[in-house]
Symmetry: C2
């Protein structure tokens, strides 16, 4: 997961393109134009297009992962950690709309199955992590036990997804952070013991 400065530049250019008009505008031609050099120059830095998107995904996965790990390591109770994670997530996504485009299109990777596998793997890992958090909240006594962690995770993830989706459908015009906060208030009431 070590990228050269040029590779990071290409990753960011890809992110910009996707963020502007969606995954379908991430073409070699557009990317080269954005980088102000020729198409073959891209192939000096990445084997093929798949590797570029893969790099984009892994690059941001690592950023998010580190953020979450920091929150989990902190001295807070489960509900507080949960809130922090939500905040962090919404803030990161608001700064990087491209991620929404990529993550939300897990069904329609024209490119190949490798990418959709990566996306679905990331999604699964996140689900697992949320389940673990909810479970420790249940053990701790702060989260209700009459509904199992798996189901509560479905509710939490669903709320997140829907909130982000309606932000996207508004053309990124609504205030994601405040919608995220409202969602958190709702989840807190629903989940509390």
């Amino acid at each position: 997961m070590n990228f050269t400065t040029r590779q990071v530049e290409i990753i960011n250019a890809s992110k910009e393109l996707i963020g502007e008009k969606g995954l379908q505008t991430l073409t070699i031609k557009n990317l080269a134009k954005r980088m102000s050099f020729s198409e073959p120059a891209l192939y000096r830095h990445f084997k093929d297009k798949t590797e570029i998107i893969k790099a984009l995904l892994l690059f941001h996965k690592e950023i998010i992962q580190n953020g979450i790990l920091n929150i989990l390591a902190s001295e807070k109770n489960t509900l507080e950690k949960f809130e922090e994670i939500l905040k962090f997530k919404f803030a990161h996504i608001e700064k990087n709309p491209a991620l929404v485009m990529v993550i939300f299109s897990e069904t329609s990777f024209q490119y190949n199955s490798i990418l959709s596998k990566i996306v679905s793997k990331i999604l699964k890992q996140r689900t697992k992590k949320i389940i673990t958090i909810i479970q420790s909240g249940q053990d701790e006594g702060s989260i209700r036990k009459d509904i199992d962690a798996q189901q509560l995770a479905t509710i939490a993830l669903g709320g997140i997804r829907t909130t982000i989706l309606s932000w996207k459908l508004s053309g990124f015009k609504t205030d994601l952070k405040s919608d995220g906060k409202k969602l958190w208030e709702t989840l807190k009431i629903l989940f509390k013991n």
Copy 2:
């Protein structure tokens, strides 16, 4: 919304193709092959490719809409209607995986903005309908009033979306109906007054 028998055949062939390998396999070439005739023949029945997908969306939208209207017209209380609607939805989607592919890819329509507008319009209409149902449940006294209908709708829709998504990610192997039932049990507990 009146289609010729040939058009319905083409709609179904499109649905099959999308259901098998995703939206990206719905090409004019593949569709013509599936219909066992030439590519230009398709243009005798639809103006262009966009019209074909549009027809697919509207065709199923109408089916779902009628199903929901029937349920709403029945003599049941809000929670029962809600349950019936969820059941109906999951059953219809299980029979038509292609719809998941299309609806879940609202971000990445290569074709044009017309389609993504249709999809987002359908999504918005459904959200509105669910909010109305929840509100009447709140008036009726069966659904909690400490969380507003908009937020509860976000939770319900999110749960549905996530449940369907994990079904898709399993390669359509898990039991969607039973997962849908579990989701309903959870929502019932969370929403009840």
